[in-house]
């Protein structure tokens, strides 16, 4: 039983990390109709900006908390700039051309990272007090994942839910996922809305980057590693559906952790097989609504 629980908790930890990234991807797709390849790059910028903040600006592990507040905002600014500078001009084109445009941004952003931060692996320390581990059912868990990663994931989840369902702006955004033209006809500034949603998506990506940074290496190329995983999660859950993203992330995380237990080596393969099965049987994803034409 305890083994099972340990793997379960592991899975949930993985799920939370990937959820933070995939939720932004899904949100942007839902509203803008763009599958944003560059979302992984925003995640990477979150990690690298945190690295700079902690190593070069404040020189102290305590500054993780400042980073947690500031860095996602910086990444959101970067996202807004990308939307205003590039994506805005191409909404009318085929969605796949938009996908290609964001892929061009991936290429550009990844080399800019190498030019600024170099090609080496970097790392940041965990915030003081969260370096150790806690024992749960006699198994040691890093206290960082239990006390920071999980709460952050849950808070973001609830926050997004409340924002989208209980606030006026959230309702507008949800309406935009249903019918963009109608929203414009009702007098909403759609351009601003798109920029805002893209910035929010970038904020989530940056937050994911900040939270993931102390748990592993920070390196150029982490953008490509994460984006495919995020694609899997949103496709399984349903492109554009936030509840689906939660479910997709949980399935992804649990398949990873239990897969390592039962079929080591092949767990990644199973995830892709699941993605293919979902796409074949239910293209809109487990919790997605109809496949919108043109996407």
């Amino acid at each position: 039983m305890s083994d099972f629980f340990v793997q379960f908790l592991n899975g949930v930890t993985i799920a939370m990390t990937i959820y933070l990234i995939a939720s932004g991807l899904s949100l942007v797709f839902g509203v803008l109709g763009v599958l944003n390849f560059a979302h992984g790059s925003l995640y990477m910028y979150g990690s690298f900006l945190l690295f700079t903040l902690m190593r070069s600006v404040f020189h102290s592990p305590d500054s993780f908390w400042i980073g947690l507040l500031v860095v996602p905002l910086l990444v959101a600014l970067l996202g807004a700039a990308l939307e205003v500078g590039f994506l805005r001009f191409i909404y009318r084109a085929d969605p796949l051309y938009q996908l290609l445009l964001t892929y061009g941004l991936v290429l550009i952003l990844s080399d800019v990272v190498k030019l600024i931060w170099g090609a080496e692996n970097q790392s940041v320390s965990r915030p003081p007090g969260f370096n150790g581990s806690v024992a749960i059912f006699g198994q040691l868990f890093p206290s960082y994942s239990i006390f920071i990663l999980l709460p952050c994931g849950v808070v973001t989840m609830i926050g997004l839910y409340v924002f989208l369902n209980r606030t006026r702006l959230g309702r507008i955004i949800r309406a935009a996922t249903q019918d963009r033209e109608m929203i414009g006809a009702l007098g909403i500034n759609v351009r601003l809305l798109y920029t805002g949603v893209f910035a929010l998506g970038a904020w989530l990506g940056g937050l994911g980057g900040v939270i993931a940074a102390p748990m592993g290496a920070i390196y150029p190329g982490m953008d490509l590693d994460i984006i495919i995983d995020a694609f899997i999660v949103v496709v399984i859950g349903g492109l554009g559906s936030l509840a689906g993203t939660v479910l997709g992330a949980l399935i992804f995380g649990l398949l990873r952790s239990f897969g390592i237990l039962f079929v080591p080596q092949f767990e990644t393969l199973f995830i892709f097989i699941l993605m293919a099965i979902v796409l074949v049987v239910r293209p809109q994803g487990l919790l997605g609504q109809h496949v919108t034409s043109g996407h």
Partner: protein, 471 residues
């Protein structure tokens, strides 16, 4: 054509003019290409250039075949696959495994097995993929290619896993020290492959695919089984991708899982976009451009290659959605225009695009020279400025003469690119710059040898047209 429902911002005339130019003439282009390119290794060895160019060119040919096969899906049928490398890998691994595991397995049979296995895999995978469209299609092809990738990557006993499959026996005649034989072998196989694809896209089958791309609903109304044709296109693309995979294998005498990784699928996508997806030869041009620029840049500046590539992609998507070949072939002529208007419009376009090519050539040669020799950037800037000054005067004067429609100027213009070409070979500028000049020549030929323009040049009284110089 005007009622096309797809929203790609690409001039549709492109496809029309490609078709119009088809027929037997292109067969001779293939023969000419074979004869000309066949002796390139000898030329390179004779000139004492680096042998590395021989293998690089062979690699470009393979990429070209792969890109044309991919473009059968993207450009002709309108399905953007993000997992085309799967069939490349399956072809390469099939040929490699057969040759390595069964001793004495005939080389020719191993090579034939590659397209067959590629087609079979495409049949199975395509059966599921063609049910989806757009982003979902792209995601499913991606998923399947990753399934293939991880299967190969993890199945150590059979495929060698991430160590790859090394030391695959290939006949002695393809592994000569200068790679000249290998080059010729690749040249012949890729040219035959591309020629077959050319015949396919110009057959009724190919036209049906284009009809499906333009409007799947209408295609099905006239009785075309859309899904079945899409599956056929998928299989054909898979077969030729498999063949390209086997060729990649022969070069290294080994295969690695990287052959199947998704970034390779995006690379072939980039080539197609760069060269132009709505033209048959566009992807080959894209393959040349990408590989030559790669060779020019990554030699000294590997850290900015992706930055450069990404910027090119963004520029192409905004500025030239039809790619380079699309830019060359696009005409803004309406079907209602009379002959005089057509000529005037075409000449206006010619003038405008001529200057674009001139600017692109200056940029490319200047940029790549600075990259190659950053210390002498002052000289390069001065040289480029001088080139620009002389070029602007010369080209402006020449274009004015051209607009008088004196027949001799058409010939002068066709020979004109020889001047910058010779200059660049003499100054030993990077290959990417030469590439632009070659494209410039292609552009000049494709405009000035159109029927209407030829007629205008041959009839003196049309000189009245010349009253509209410039764009």
């Amino acid at each position: 054509m005007n009622t096309s429902q797809t929203t790609l911002t690409v001039p549709r005339q492109v496809t029309v003019s490609t078709r119009a130019a088809g027929g037997d003439k292109t067969t001779w282009v293939f023969v000419a290409a074979l004869v000309l390119l066949y002796w390139v290794p000898e030329a390179i060895l004779y000139m004492g250039w680096a042998k590395f160019w021989i293998t690089l060119l062979a690699e470009v040919f393979i990429w070209g075949l792969f890109a044309v096969a991919f473009n059968l899906l993207m450009g002709y049928t309108g399905m953007i696959s993000f997992g085309q490398a799967a069939y490349l890998g399956i072809g390469g691994y099939t040929a490699g495994l057969l040759l390595k595991k069964i001793s004495g397995f005939p080389f020719a049979l191993g090579l034939t097995a590659a397209p067959v296995s590629g087609a079979l895999a495409a049949l199975i995978i395509g059966y599921f993929c063609i049910r989806l469209t757009h982003t979902y299609f792209a995601m499913l092809t991606l998923a399947f290619s990753m399934i293939v990738y991880y299967t190969v990557f993890k199945w150590y006993d059979f495929t060698g896993g991430d160590n790859g499959l090394i030391g695959i026996p290939v006949p002695h005649w393809v592994q000569d020290p200068t790679f000249a034989n290998y080059y010729k072998f690749v040249l012949v196989v890729t040219l035959v492959g591309v020629y077959l694809l050319w015949r396919i896209v110009n057959s009724p089958f190919g036209k049906t695919l284009t009809a499906i791309r333009e409007n799947p609903d209408r295609a099905s109304f006239v009785g075309i089984n859309v899904k079945r044709y899409q599956l056929y296109a998928f299989i054909v693309a898979g077969a030729f991708s498999g063949l390209a995979g086997a060729l990649f294998m022969i070069n290294e005498r080994s295969v690695y899982p990287e052959l199947i990784f998704w970034t390779r699928s995006t690379q072939v996508l980039l080539m197609s976009i760069l060269g132009g997806v709505y033209t048959f030869f566009g992807p080959i041009v894209g393959a040349f451009m990408l590989q030559l620029m790669d060779a020019d840049i990554t030699k000294d500046y590997p850290q900015i290659w992706q930055l450069f590539l990404g910027s090119m992609l963004v520029l192409i998507l905004y500025g030239l959605p039809g790619g380079i070949m699309g830019f060359i072939q696009a005409r803004d002529i309406a079907s209602t225009d009379d002959a005089a208007t057509r000529v005037r419009k075409a000449m206006g376009e010619f003038n405008r695009k001529f200057w674009y090519f001139f600017a692109a050539m200056l940029f490319f040669t200047g940029f790549f020279r600075i990259l190659q020799a950053p210390d002498t950037w002052v000289t390069t800037v001065l040289l480029t400025a001088a080139q620009a000054a002389v070029g602007v005067l010369l080209c402006a004067w020449m274009l004015r003469q051209l607009n008088t429609f004196a027949p001799v100027w058409r010939i002068v213009f066709l020979l004109f690119p020889l001047l910058p070409l010779g200059l660049h070979i003499a100054l030993s500028t990077p290959l990417s710059g030469l590439m632009i000049i070659v494209l410039w020549a292609v552009f000049i030929y494709s405009y000035l040898w159109q029927d209407e323009i030829r007629e205008a040049f041959s009839q003196p009284h049309r000189a009245a047209l010349a009253t509209t110089p410039g764009a």
